[in-house]
C-alpha cells in the first residue's frame, strides 16, 4: 500500500481539523517537534530534530491539577494528536518508555506497580506516523540497538520513501483504523518490505558510529571501579544528554502556591545528572560527584532496564554524544567499559 | 512564534525606595498624590536585588522606579552608589534580553529639588501611555 507524497501532506492538513498535529518544523538553526499551524512549514529534510518526539507525549512542564480552597480542578483532557515525521529512533524511544509508564508484566517476574495516567491518556490518543531515514548523521547508531533506519518499531504507520510516494508499513490497529477512515487517499501497489530493505541497506552502509551493546547487563561488575572517573572526565553535569534522550524519563513534582488558599501541582523534567538530583533533606548526597552520576545513567540504561524489562533503554539516536558540550561520546564510553570487563 | 506580546504589561508602577530617602510626611504626600502606584520600602537601595525588579517586569508590572538617597549622602555610607551601577547593569541585560530598559529607572533624591520623584512617576505614566498599555 502506498500514497503519493503530496497526498500525505494534504491528508495531514485535513487531519488538523480533528487532531492536534505535531511535526518537525524549522525554528532558527534547529528543527523541533511543534504544533503545526501551516502545513508548508513541515521540514522532513532534517534528519534529526533537536528535541526528541517524547515531548509530545511527555511534556517538559505539565499541569496536573489546580486546588482552590477545597475544590480540585484536574487539568483539561488532552486532544487527539498525530505525531507526523517521527524518525524510527524516536518512535522506538516512546515504545521503550511504555515499559516504565504502563502497568505491564515485567521480565524479572514482577509487575510494574503503578500506571502513569497522564502518559496513558496521551499515549492512547496519539497516532504515531514515522518516516524512514534515507541518510544518517555522524552519530547515528540505531542499527546497534536492535532497530534500523527503516524500522517500524514503536510507530502505528511507517512511511518508507520510494520515488514520489511513500510505501506504508502498518503495525497497529490504530494505524489500520486511520487508513480505513481515509481509504481514498491511498493506493495499492509496491512491495513495502522490499522498500524497507532498500532504504535500510543504503542508510546503514553510511553509518560510522558504533555502540558496543554486547556487554549490556554485565556492567555491575565495574560498580566500584575507578574507570567511571576516566569515562566521565570533562562532564559538567549539565543534563543535556538526559533532556534530549528519547528514553530518559525522570521527572519532578512541584506544588506551587498561587494565592492565599490555592496552589498548582505540576510535573516537569528532571535529570539524574543534576548535582542536586539525589540530595536528601539531611544534606547528604549519595551521588556527590560526576563519576557517580554518570555511572548511574549508564547503568540505568544498559543494566537496570535490562534486568527489569529485558531491553536496553537506548535507541542509538546519537543525540547525547552530538550535543554534549564536553565531547563525551557514548561509543567511546562503551568501548572503554567493555575493555575493562 | 512567541513574541513580546506574550508578556502583557499592566499600567502598574512600583517605586522601590530606601527608608531614608522617602519617609514620614514625604512618603504620605507621594502616596496621596499617586494612589495607584505601589511603594516598597527597603532599608537601603543597595539592598535591592535587580532580579526582583526584572521578574516583576516580565510578569506584568509596567515600570519600576528605584529611588535612593542623594549621591554623596547615603544613610548607609555608599549603598546607593552600588545600587546605581547595579541598576545600570540590569538595564543593559534587560535590553539584551528584549525587555525595554526604559521601564526600569534609578532616581536620586535631590535636597534642592523636591519634585524629582513626582516628575519621574509622571514621566513613566506618559511612557506607558505612549506604549499603548491598557489597564
Amino acid at each position: 500500500m502506498k500514497i503519493k507524497k503530496e497526498k500525505m501532506l494534504s491528508l495531514i492538513d485535513e487531519s488538523r481539523k480533528t487532531h492536534v498535529v505535531y511535526a518537525p518544523q524549522k525554528n532558527g538553526a534547529v528543527t523541533n517537534f511543534k504544533k503545526v499551524e501551516d502545513i508548508k512549514s513541515i521540514d522532513l529534510k532534517t534528519v534529526r530534530t533537536a528535541t526528541p518526539a517524547k515531548e509530545a507525549v511527555f511534556p517538559q512542564t505539565e499541569l496536573i491539577y489546580k486546588v482552590e480552597s477545597d475544590k480540585v480542578h484536574q487539568a483539561d483532557a488532552s486532544k487527539p494528536a498525530i505525531l507526523f515525521g517521527v524518525r524510527p529512533c524516536d518512535a522506538r524511544g516512546i515504545q521503550v518508555l511504555d515499559n516504565f509508564f504502563l502497568a505491564r508484566d515485567r521480565k524479572d517476574g514482577g509487575k510494574q506497580p503503578f500506571e502513569d495516567p497522564y502518559w496513558k491518556e496521551k499515549r492512547d490518543k496519539t497516532l504515531i506516523i514515522a518516516i524512514a531515514c534515507e541518510k544518517p548523521l555522524s552519530t547515528c547508531a540505531c542499527s546497534s540497538l536492535g532497530i534500523h533506519p527503516a524500522s517500524e518499531a514503536g510507530s502505528d504507520i511507517l512511511l518508507v520513501p520510494e520515488g514520489d510516494s511513500y510505501q506504508l508499513v502498518v503495525s497497529t490497529e490504530k494505524g489500520k483504523a486511520f487508513i480505513e477512515a481515509n481509504k481514498s487517499m491511498f493506493e495499492d501497489g509496491g512491495d513495502a518490505k522490499a522498500a524497507q530493505e532498500k532504504v535500510k541497506k543504503a542508510c546503514e552502509s553510511m553509518m560510522i558510529f558504533k555502540l558496543d551493546t554486547s556487554k549490556a547487563g554485565q556492567y555491575m561488575k565495574l560498580y566500584e571501579s575507578p574507570i567511571w572517573q576516566k569515562v566521565s572526565q570533562g562532564c559538567i553535569s549539565c543534563g543535556v544528554c538526559t533532556f534530549f534522550c528519547p528514553t530518559c524519563h525522570c521527572f519532578e513534582m512541584r506544588d506551587r502556591k498561587t494565592g492565599a488558599v490555592s496552589c498548582d501541582r505540576d510535573k516537569c523534567w528532571d535529570s539524574c545528572h543534576f548535582t542536586v538530583y539525589s540530595l536528601e533533606a539531611s544534606g547528604h548526597n549519595p551521588r556527590p560527584d560526576v563519576a557517580a552520576r554518570y555511572r548511574n545513567k549508564i547503568l540505568d540504561k544498559y543494566q537496570y532496564h535490562m534486568t527489569l524489562y529485558g531491553e536496553i533503554a537506548c535507541t542509538g539516536c546519537g543525540r547525547c554524544s552530538d550535543l554534549c558540550p564536553s565531547g563525551i561520546s557514548l561509543s567511546e564510553t562503551l568501548k572503554t567499559l567493555g575493555g575493562a570487563l | 512564534m512567541p513574541s513580546i506580546e506574550d508578556l502583557p504589561i499592566k499600567r502598574k508602577i512600583i517605586v522601590f525606595h530606601c527608608e531614608s530617602a522617602l519617609k514620614g510626611k514625604d512618603l504620605e504626600n507621594h502616596k496621596d498624590k499617586f494612589p495607584e502606584v505601589g511603594f516598597v520600602k527597603l532599608s537601603c537601595t543597595g539592598r535591592l536585588n535587580p532580579v526582583v525588579a526584572f521578574k516583576a517586569l516580565v510578569e506584568g508590572v509596567g515600570a519600576i522606579i528605584i529611588y535612593g538617597c542623594p549621591l554623596n549622602d547615603c544613610h548607609n555610607f555608599d549603598g546607593n552608589m552600588f545600587a546605581k551601577r547595579r541598576v545600570f547593569a540590569a538595564q543593559s541585560v534587560a535590553e539584551a534580553l528584549g525587555v525595554d530598559p526604559e521601564r526600569l529607572s534609578y532616581v536620586q533624591k535631590d535636597p534642592l529639588d523636591y519634585g524629582v520623584l513626582t516628575r519621574e512617576i509622571s514621566a513613566m505614566k506618559r511612557k506607558l501611555d505612549s506604549m499603548g498599555v491598557e489597564a
Binding site: 532558527g28 534547529v30 555522524s138 | 551601577r85 547593569a89 539584551a96
Partner: protein, 329 residues
C-alpha cells in the same frame, strides 16, 4: 592549530615536567575517535598519555571551567607539585578572572598558553553539506572533508571560523608560564567594538523580536550555566532550589520563566563575562546567546573601561564606584 614542530615541542616539555615530578598531571584536549571535528578535555598523568594531547581548530572547550570548583578529578598534588593546564586567549581570561575572585589558586598551576588562530564552528560546516561528516582535516588554509556518502569536499577554512573568533582581540593567552610559538596562518580579524556598534544601531524592536523568538526555544536544561567558567556556585545555584515556601523561580518553560532565568545568569555575569562563547556553543537548541554576552562586554568596556579577565587583581566594576560619581561629576 599547531605545526608538527610546535606540537612535538609542547609534548616534550609536558613529558619532562611529568617525569621530573614538577606536575601531577596536565589538562589539555584530546581527539574523540569516532566524532569528527570534536575534542574533549583530558588529564594526562603519564608520559604515554601525553601523546594523546592535541591542539587544533576544533579545541573549543574552555578548560578553565573545570578548575573553578566543579567536581573534576585533579590528581593529588604532593608538596610543591603543580597541576598543568593549557589555555587559549579566551580561556586565559577566565582563568585570571577566577584567580582574581579567589576561586582558583594560581600558585598550584603551571599554565601553558597558545596563540589561538581561531576555532572552526563544526555545525556551520555540517549545515552547508548534503551529507554529514565522516572525517575532517585542516591544513591551515583548507578543510578537507570526507562525507558519509563517500563524496569529498575542500572548503576554504576562513569561511567557517566561528564569527566571534574573528572579532576576538585576545589571540594570545595572557599571563601564562610558557607561551608556545606562533607559526600558523593568521585568521582574518574584524573589530568587535565596531561590530557591536553597528548591531546596536538596529532598532530595538527588531533586535527584541529576534532574541525573544530564539529564547522561546529554551528547554531550561541549564547547559549554558554549567558550561560557563564564571558560574561556579555549583550545588548552591538558586535555580536548583526552587523549593522555597512560595517557589519564586520556576523551572517551567513559560517565556517569563525563561527570561527570568537568563536574566539571573547574565546579570550575575554582567561585569565578569569574558565572552568565551561556551554558553552559545553548549546550547543544544543553538540559541545565539553570544548576542547577549557581546553586548555585556561592550557595555562594560564603554561605560567603565573594563575588560574582565585581563588582570588577576582587578576588582570588577559592580564592586566599585569612583569618587567622581559620588560627587555627581
Amino acid at each position: 592549530m599547531m605545526t608538527e614542530k610546535t606540537l612535538a615541542y609542547f609534548r616534550k616539555i609536558v613529558k619532562e615536567a611529568i617525569k621530573s615530578g614538577k606536575i601531577a598531571g596536565f589538562l589539555g584536549w584530546r581527539e574523540v575517535a569516532d566524532m569528527p571535528g570534536k575534542t574533549r578535555a583530558f588529564v594526562a598523568t603519564t608520559p604515554e598519555e601525553v601523546d594523546l594531547l592535541v591542539f587544533n581548530s576544533f579545541s573549543r572547550e574552555n578548560l578553565s571551567r573545570l578548575l573553578g570548583g566543579k567536581t573534576f578529578y585533579i590528581p593529588e598534588l604532593k608538596k610543591g607539585q603543580k597541576f598543568g593546564v593549557m589555555v587559549k586567549g579566551c580561556d586565559s581570561r577566565n582563568l585570571l578572572a577566577n584567580v582574581a575572585e579567589n576561586k582558583v589558586d594560581r600558585d598550584n598551576l603551571w599554565v601553558i598558553g597558545v596563540k589561538c588562530p581561531g576555532t572552526i564552528d563544526i555545525d556551520l560546516v555540517r549545515s552547508g553539506l548534503d551529507s554529514d561528516i565522516k572525517n575532517i582535516t585542516d591544513d591551515g588554509t583548507t578543510l578537507h572533508v570526507e562525507m558519509l556518502d563517500g563524496k569529498k569536499a575542500d572548503l576554504v577554512k576562513s569561511d567557517y571560523y566561528d564569527p566571534r573568533c574573528l572579532r576576538c582581540p585576545y589571540t594570545s593567552a595572557l599571563e601564562v608560564d610558557e607561551l608556545l610559538p606562533d607559526d600558523m596562518p593568521k585568521k582574518p580579524t574584524k573589530n568587535w567594538e565596531k561590530w557591536m556598534e553597528s548591531y546596536l544601531q538596529k532598532p530595538f524592536e527588531e533586535r527584541r523580536a529576534y532574541i525573544i523568538s530564539q529564547l522561546s526555544r529554551c528547554t531550561m536544561c541549564f547547559a549554558c550555566r554549567d558550561a560557563c567558567p564564571g558560574c561556579y556556585c555549583n550545588t548552591n545555584c538558586i535555580m536548583d532550589y526552587p523549593k522555597l515556601p512560595e517557589p519564586y523561580l520556576q523551572k517551567g518553560t513559560s517565556l517569563a520563566s525563561i527570561l527570568t532565568y537568563h536574566f539571573i545568569h547574565y546579570f550575575h555575569l554582567s561585569d565578569r563575562c569574558t565572552n568565551c562563547g561556551e554558553c552559545a556553543r553548549a546550547c543544544p537548541e543553538s540559541i545565539p546567546l553570544n548576542l547577549i554576552t557581546e553586548q555585556l562586554g561592550y557595555m562594560t568596556k564603554t561605560t567603565w573601561d573594563f575588560e574582565p579577565g585581563t588582570s588577576d587583581k582587578a576588582k570588577t566594576p559592580l564592586a566599585l564606584y569612583k569618587v567622581e560619581e559620588v560627587l555627581g561629576r
